[in-house]
């Protein structure tokens, strides 16, 4: 790597570092498992490096990064026609989700109940299509307004409102049926 390349690489890493952990968590929420989250983050970093000049000078680069992340995820999902969420072939829920969530200070019953709730949420989210899930993650879980979501997902506000309404009905029905939350 030349000196110039090294400098750009260092600047890129420094620019990205404050957001990296949050980016990963969002990727995990979108994909539902660690393997796909890592793949998505890797693809995102490559794309962000290619577009570094476009976003590095912005006062709030996280907005740009978020937009690229969500749309990259949707594009990749459409290409791969992947099934979201827990893939029993590659991840075992007990190993990858329950162990990482269980607190050592909790009693076994409470930990098991909480783990069950976590899986219920995963399964409910898995029932959504990629665009619905992106909206739920962006708006309901991460707390962005619908206007912000519209700017990130490049989708009209009215479309998002209809989509959100359908998502809420679907999720409530599934979580009620499951009985862990309602």
């Amino acid at each position: 790597m030349t000196d110039d390349q090294q400098t750009v690489s260092t600047r890129f890493a420094q620019a990205l570092k404050p957001y990296a952990a949050d980016i990963y968590r969002t990727a995990y929420r979108l994909t539902g498992n660690r393997t796909d989250a890592q793949d998505l983050v890797q693809e995102l970093f490559i794309k962000l490096f290619q577009q570094f000049d476009s976003w590095s000078g912005q006062p709030e680069p996280v907005q740009w990064i978020r937009r690229v992340l969500y749309n990259l995820h949707i594009d990749l999902y459409r290409k791969r026609r992947h099934i979201h969420g827990i893939d029993p072939g590659t991840l075992h829920p007990d190993e990858n989700i329950l162990d990482s969530l269980a607190s050592t200070s909790e009693g076994p019953d409470h930990a098991a109940e909480r783990a069950k709730q976590q899986l219920s949420i995963q399964h409910a989210l898995n029932s959504l299509d990629v665009e619905q899930r992106a909206l739920v993650v962006l708006h309901l879980i991460e707390g962005h307004t619908l206007e912000e979501a519209s700017a990130v997902l490049l989708t009209p506000l009215g479309t998002l409102k209809s989509r959100l309404h359908r998502c809420k009905i679907k999720l409530r029905t599934l979580l009620k049926k499951d009985g862990t939350f309602f």
Binding site: A13, A21, I46, R80
Partner: protein, 224 residues
């Protein structure tokens, strides 16, 4: 009770100070506030979902890979390569790759090539059999160590393309150039909602017969 007051009380209700009688009566008669409660419950349930943080080593690696210099711009559609991969050209050494415990848990299989000075480049063809239960599309990707090169793709250490799998065995034959001591080759395929991966060490010296522990394609337990 007005809705604004009801919602204010809803937001401040706790297990120690649950809903009062007046609030419950309002909720029983107000569809809008009932929806509000359900929305709040749903949002809280979703926000209670905890996701793990990233492995710091992964983040560092990912940033490193993203900034690795690439001479040619990477593109994703290699339909002609997919067509080549789908053809049944049986050349060179055949490696069986199946979704089996032997391959998953055993040591990395590796090939050894004829003795050669470490500075020379040696041609090797690595062939992998992908078994598909149905005719379907797949995404294939390969990741090459620094000392490996796919012929015709100099400078590209990772390649991803779409391929169409036929039902049964599909051969992926990779013409490699092994520079110096060689290195690791990783082949990943994604189809039918699953990801399959195999890693191989491709080294510079002598070609030897396959390790006996490598699964053969026609063993039922090795089929995907």
């Amino acid at each position: 009770m007005q809705c604004t007051e009801a919602r204010s009380k809803l937001n401040t209700a706790t297990s120690e100070q649950p809903y009062g009688v007046e609030l419950r009566e309002h909720l029983a008669s107000c569809q809008l506030c009932q929806c509000y409660v359900e929305d709040e419950q749903l949002t809280r349930a979703l926000q209670s979902w905890q996701v793990p943080g990233p492995d710091q080593a992964f983040l560092q690696q990912a940033m490193l890979r993203a900034t690795r210099p690439i001479r040619n711009s990477a593109t994703r559609k290699w339909s002609w390569l997919a067509a080549t991969a789908a053809s049944l050209a049986l050349v060179g050494v055949l490696l069986s790759w199946m979704y089996s415990s032997e391959l998953k848990n055993g040591p990395l299989p590796h090939l050894q090539m004829a003795d050669a000075p470490s500075t020379q480049s040696v041609q090797r063809r690595v062939s992998i059999v992908i078994y598909s239960g149905d005719e379907q599309d797949a995404e294939l990707s390969i990741a090459l160590a620094e000392n490996l090169e796919l012929e015709g793709f100099a400078g590209q250490q990772t390649l991803t393309w779409n391929a169409h799998l036929t039902k049964g065995e599909n051969l992926l034959s990779l013409p490699l150039l092994v520079h110096g001591e060689g290195g690791e080759l990783q082949v990943t395929s994604r189809f039918a909602g699953r990801k399959h991966q195999v890693q191989l060490k491709v080294e510079a010296p002598r070609i030897k017969p396959l390790d006996s522990g490598i699964a053969k394609p026609n063993r039922p337990e090795n089929r995907v």
